[in-house]
């Protein structure tokens, strides 16, 4: 029953930000369970706490109270080294702004996480080229990010997120800076990856195109889980969703 183990478990998580004298309660008690291999979309308006929740799951931020487990490990218990290891090996990040390292070529960007993980250079280069071929950029691995289009940069980022065979890919608005058709290409690519490699994909998004490919959609509103919809329920209401855009 490999597929049933929960790769991410969030239990009663709250997060409070202090802004001067005011306290802002970004998350007010969230419970979630995400199973291995799922394709999850987290939807919600900006300011809903979506990004905060997302950062918690990614181990980029710690909750004010409650627990976040990744692969059944409580991330609050980890020290800086273990946290870095987790980010390097267990989680692949994809960002809205691509965040490739500008001074490095596409291939160097993809191999960097493998270098950190202690993979030797030749193996890393071989795998980097294979990953870039997989995302359709086999011929452009020597290019710098500034020589690539937005969609191509995001493909490099997708390849980079897969470098250390993570269990989770976290995609924060992966289509937010892309036009409609390139956005769609990235979504298709992510879906293909989730099907082929069985990696869990969690994406925070505004993009209703994402809903079609998601196994489950988690709606966040006002720091709480509003509702969680399975795809089969979603396909019935897809017309309405279309209207909502």
């Amino acid at each position: 029953m490999e597929t049933l183990h929960s790769v991410v478990r969030v239990s009663n998580v709250t997060k409070t930000f202090r802004m001067g004298k005011n306290e802002l309660r970004a998350l007010k008690g969230i419970d979630l369970e995400i199973r291995a291999g799922e394709y999850i979309s987290i939807m919600g308006p900006s300011g809903s706490g979506k990004s905060t929740l997302f950062n918690m799951i990614g181990g980029l931020d710690k909750p004010s109270s409650g627990k976040v487990y990744i692969d059944e490990v409580d991330i609050a218990q980890l020290d800086a080294y273990e946290l870095a290891w987790l980010r390097c090996r267990k989680i692949g990040y994809i960002f809205q702004t691509f965040n490739l390292i500008q001074v490095m070529t596409a291939l160097e960007n993809v191999t960097l996480p493998m270098i950190f993980a202690g993979v030797n250079n030749d193996t890393a280069v071989d795998k980097g080229i294979r990953l870039l071929e997989m995302v359709g950029l086999g011929d452009r691995f020597r290019h710098k990010p500034s020589e690539l289009s937005g969609g191509q940069q995001q493909r490099v980022a997708v390849a980079r997120s897969l470098a250390n065979d993570p269990s989770i890919i976290l995609a924060d608005e992966p289509t937010g800076n892309l036009d409609l058709s390139t956005g769609e290409e990235i979504i298709t690519l992510l879906k293909k990856l989730s099907r082929e490699t069985g990696v869990t994909i969690i994406s925070a998004t505004h993009d209703f195109k994402m809903l079609n490919v998601s196994d489950r959609v988690i709606w966040i509103r006002d720091g709480l889980v509003d509702k969680i919809e399975d795809r089969k329920d979603l396909s019935i209401s897809i017309g309405q969703i279309g209207d909502r855009t």
Partner: protein
């Protein structure tokens, strides 16, 4: 640490950045931001060349005094050296030393300033690296290496330039008669001191900015606008 290990829940802590790779990344960063690196390095070149100029000019004067020729002594006094009858060394005056210290201080402040800006410019890059698993000390090491390379090149250029102009200045004032009495060992010693001082300054100047960069939480770094 009690850990719930129902499944593959296994966390290690081994992350590496081989030295050669760090060197490669730092070198690439300098090359990619050549203009900025150039400006930072120029501050160092100027300060170090001033230091080298003063100490090599003094070396020349000492060489001339050591020759024991009376006309050299007269020439030195005419060109502004404050020599008594029994003085056998023409060491740097307190005023010169103050000028050197001041120029080095200004240079250090300039380097800190430039490096702080460089760090701010690279918030996002640092945050990204941390998301990919970089440890604080990788970031620290990259910045130190960059500063070290800039320091080495900058102070070598500065020291050689300063030394060259000191020699030119010597010939201008005292003519080619001094050539046989030039203390070449003292020269190389002065050059080494100038280069060492330059490298130290460059590293000192980057420590604070590099620590700021290394300790940044990835989340803050990613939030930074670019």
């Amino acid at each position: 640490m009690p850990r719930n290990s129902l499944n593959a829940g296994r966390v290690e802590r081994l992350l590496v950045l081989p030295f050669r790779k760090s060197l490669e990344i730092s070198f690439q960063s300098i090359r990619a931001r050549f203009f900025r690196s150039f400006i930072t390095t120029m501050t160092l070149v100027l300060a170090v060349s001033f230091l080298a100029f003063v100490s090599i000019t003094n070396d020349i004067a000492n060489g001339m005094l050591d020759s024991g020729k009376a006309e050299f002594r007269q020439q030195l006094i005419r060109s502004g050296y404050d020599l008594d009858e029994e003085d056998s060394r023409a060491d740097s005056s307190p005023k010169q030393r103050w000028l050197i210290i001041l120029s080095l201080l200004v240079c250090a402040v300039g380097i800190i300033n430039a490096q702080l800006m460089a760090v701010t410019e690279r918030f996002r890059e640092i945050g990204t690296m941390k998301c990919l698993g970089a440890l604080d000390r990788f970031i620290l090491r990259l910045f130190l290496l960059e500063a070290g390379m800039q320091g080495l090149v900058g102070s070598a250029v500065g020291a050689l330039g300063g030394g060259f102009f000191a020699l030119l200045n010597g010939f201008w004032h005292f003519g080619s008669a001094v050539v046989p009495y030039l203390p070449w060992t003292d020269f190389s010693f002065s050059l080494l001191i100038a280069i060492g001082t330059g490298c130290t300054l460059s590293l000192l100047g980057v420590i604070y900015p590099a620590v700021v960069a290394a300790r940044m939480q990835p989340v803050e770094a990613m939030r930074a606008e670019q």
